[in-house]
Amino acid sequence: MVKKILSVALCAAVLVFIYAPILLLVVYSFTDSNVIGRWEGFSFALYGQLFRNAEIMQILFNTVWLALAAAALSTVLGTAGAIGIFYSRRRVAKPLQAASQIPVINAEIVTAISLALLFSMIALYRTYFSLIVGHMVLCTPFVVLSVLPKLKQMDSNTYEAALDLGATPAQALFKVVVPQIFSGILSGFMLSITLSLDDYIVTAFTKPPMFDTISTYVYNAVRNGTNSSTPALRALSALIFVVMIVILLAVNLRARKPAAKERAK
């Protein structure tokens, strides 16, 4: 009995440790005070400020737009890369796969500085192009990482079977290979969105001067400490947290559904 209580208590302690800061933020997003820690009564004022602040709305739009574009491009590139690795001869595939994963373990600051150097060399430093490419460098390896296992689970003969039945290589790819690895592609896309959304380092090194995402904006706001929109960012952070939770739940539930259907038969 004591054991059981202890184990529950430990779990609770871990959860509190992880979620306390976020909960604190969410709670304090419902009060209209300039500093966290002072409760000045329940109010939606911060949310009102947030949606009335044109600058923040613009930045929010920037961030989402960047995340969607970078994720979509990375997903295409990463899926093509994974398929390429999968159908290469083993001697080529192994080093190729390893090389494609180096950015995953590479320190992000190194990636960011390298990108900055590269783009200043070709006179594209701090443009939308460098920003998108920077985010793609960040996301593509994760797409490869989530698509490759799906390809390995797939019966590689199915592609040949499609050709055998009269499909062109493109038809075989889109009618047979892509549907079988679609869950991997989708999770690669979602992963890319989350990576791009909260990225600060690469964004800071590659963004055009007058362009901001939530991360760079929040960072600057907090650093300066004088910005009047800081309290509204609490509301924004709380919203982002809730949206992420909802997306995560949706993806997980979607993944569980086909499995349940299978079992029902």
């Binding site: 019966d155 003969n157 199915t158 055998d164 290589p169 079988q180």
Partner: protein, 505 residues
């Protein structure tokens, strides 16, 4: 169904070679398949049979050579342009589609010419997709052929292995291919299911009347189902023939060994219709040149057992295994092992006589590249074979070993071995044997029984007196027939290998 024109070649391979990097999977293969035939590629794994099939399907492109379909070159045609469909070893069904969509996959992509009449009354032909009704009809028929009526809406994962195999067949035949390729399609099924499917496939072949090209490593499957069998080994065709011809008249020792059980002996033709093996002369029906080295094949069911006195060979029974219909009895005749299949049993240790009729001795020409002997190691670490005793390097038997002062072999692990009386197999190259007039100089002595001039050298056969063992050698020097000579072999040229049972023990 149209009458089959058996002489019509539907597919022909001309000098086809396929190499992957440095390894050659298929080497200079030529054969043809007649229309409507059930042909099987048979061979052990890695023999190139699947690669050959994949080249016919179009998945692999030959490194050199040509593939002709109905006389037209299709060597570089992609698989989707070939009137050929494949049943894969692991079925390769599309898991994201139901049974109906799997089978209809090819039909939905297909375009057929449809003739129309325009306003002026002129006919014109348009390529058009099949209608939904036509596809439904064809899928239903294909499912009926494989006995899976009503399975249209089922998911692939809900089907058993046998059912998935049937769907794979239906998916291929629904396109009405000219040739159906089957790559070990029954390999993943259990024995009973396999037997049933063998019969069904044969029946399907009869009903559909299309050409089946089948790949298997199972010799029984090949013998049961095929009109023609192509036996392959190491990328080369060993023999092409009907199942009966291949079983009864194997072209070489490999085919004999691979198809059914057989006893294969090293033999020599010693006279008109007489072959010598197991230290005895036998009458035979195959006519070969005198002194030719041959492989002798005797099927286990063709050896009859009698008592010790009336047998042509005498052996001691070493094992008896009950196999259901028959007993499999293994006997040692001298240093050779003989396997006999009989409905009668014997006990281990019995001394039995063996009778082999001339009709049951099948003789195959042997390309002689090396002399092979059974031998044993003596106390002095020399080797005895072919009626002689030779100096040899016994440390080659165990990599990294050496001899100690007392003559014991010490292995790389430090284990001390006494090699005395150990059975070894011995190989000596034709160039590695020298002849000498001095009888004491060599390890064995005999008379030259044959010499053949081969352009730049002579090939000699030296036969010993005691057991009539032969040494075949190439030499530029001239000797005469019937010269009494001794045979010299340098120790480093005697290749020794442990016999299998010694390695295990």
């Amino acid at each position: 169904m149209a009458e089959l024109r058996k002489d019509e070649k539907i597919i022909q391979l001309v000098n086809v070679t396929k190499a992957f990097d440095e390894t050659v999977a298929v080497e200079n293969v030529s054969f043809y398949v007649r229309k409507g035939e059930f042909i099987t590629f048979l061979g052990p794994s890695g023999c190139g049979k699947t690669t050959t099939l994949r080249m016919i399907a179009g998945f692999d492109i030959p490194t050199s050579g040509k593939i002709l379909l109905n006389g037209q070159d299709i060597t570089n045609l992609p698989p989707n342009k070939r009137p050929v469909n494949t049943v894969f070893q692991r079925y390769a069904l599309f898991p994201h589609l139901n049974i109906y969509d799997n089978i209809a996959f090819g039909l939905k992509l297909k375009k057929v010419p449809v003739t129309y009449m325009n306003d002026k009354g002129e006919k014109y032909v348009k390529m058009q997709k099949l209608t939904r009704r036509e596809i439904d009809e064809k899928v239903k028929n294909a499912l009926a052929v494989v006995d899976l009526e009503g399975f249209e809406k089922r998911a692939v994962s809900t089907l058993s292995g046998g059912q998935q195999q049937r769907v794979a067949i239906a998916r291929a035949i629904v396109n009405e291919p000219e040739i159906l390729l089957l790559d070990e399609p029954l390999g993943a099924l259990d024995l009973k299911m396999r037997k049933e499917m063998q019969i069904e496939l044969k029946e399907m072949h009869r009903k559909l009347g299309i050409t089946f090209i089948y790949v298997t490593h199972d010799q029984e499957e090949a013998l049961t189902m095929s009109d023609t069998i192509v036996v392959m080994k190491d990328g080369c065709i060993q023999q092409i023939g009907t199942p009966t011809a291949i079983y009864n008249e194997p072209a070489n020792a490999f085919v004999a060994d691979f198809i059914g059980d057989s006893n294969i002996f090293n033999g020599t033709i010693v006279g008109k219709l007489t072959v010598r093996f197991c230290n005895r002369n036998f009458k035979c029906v195959d006519d070969f040149e005198k002194n030719e080295k041959v492989d002798v094949v005797v099927r286990p069911e063709d050896i009859k057992m009698t008592d010790e006195d009336s047998g042509m060979l005498v052996g001691r029974v070493t094992s008896v295994v009950f196999k259901g219909v028959h007993y499999e009895i293994t006997a040692m005749v001298g240093r050779s092992e003989v396997v006999i299949q009989s409905t009668q049993s014997r006990n281990v240790g019995d001394v039995i006589g063996l009778v082999i009729e001339p009709d049951d001795i099948h003789i195959m020409k042997k390309e002689l590249t090396v002399n092979k002997y059974d031998g044993y190691i003596t106390k002095k670490n020399t080797v005895v074979f072919g009626d002689g005793e030779f100096e040899c390097d016994v440390t080659k038997l165990y990599p990294g070993s050496h001899l100690d002062e007392e003559g014991y072999l010490v292995t790389a692990d430090g284990e001390k071995l006494d090699l005395t009386d150990m059975d070894v197999s011995v190989e000596v190259g034709l160039q590695d044997i020298e002849l000498s007039d001095n009888a004491d100089e060599g390890g064995a002595r005999g008379h030259i029984v044959q010499l053949i001039y081969k352009g730049d050298h002579y090939q000699y056969i030296v036969r010993t007196e005691e057991n009539e063992e032969d040494y075949v050698l190439d030499s530029p020097d001239l000797w005469n027939e019937n010269d009494y000579v001794s045979v010299k072999i340098r120790p480093e040229n005697i290749r020794l290998a442990l016999k299998q049972e010694k390695q295990n023990g």
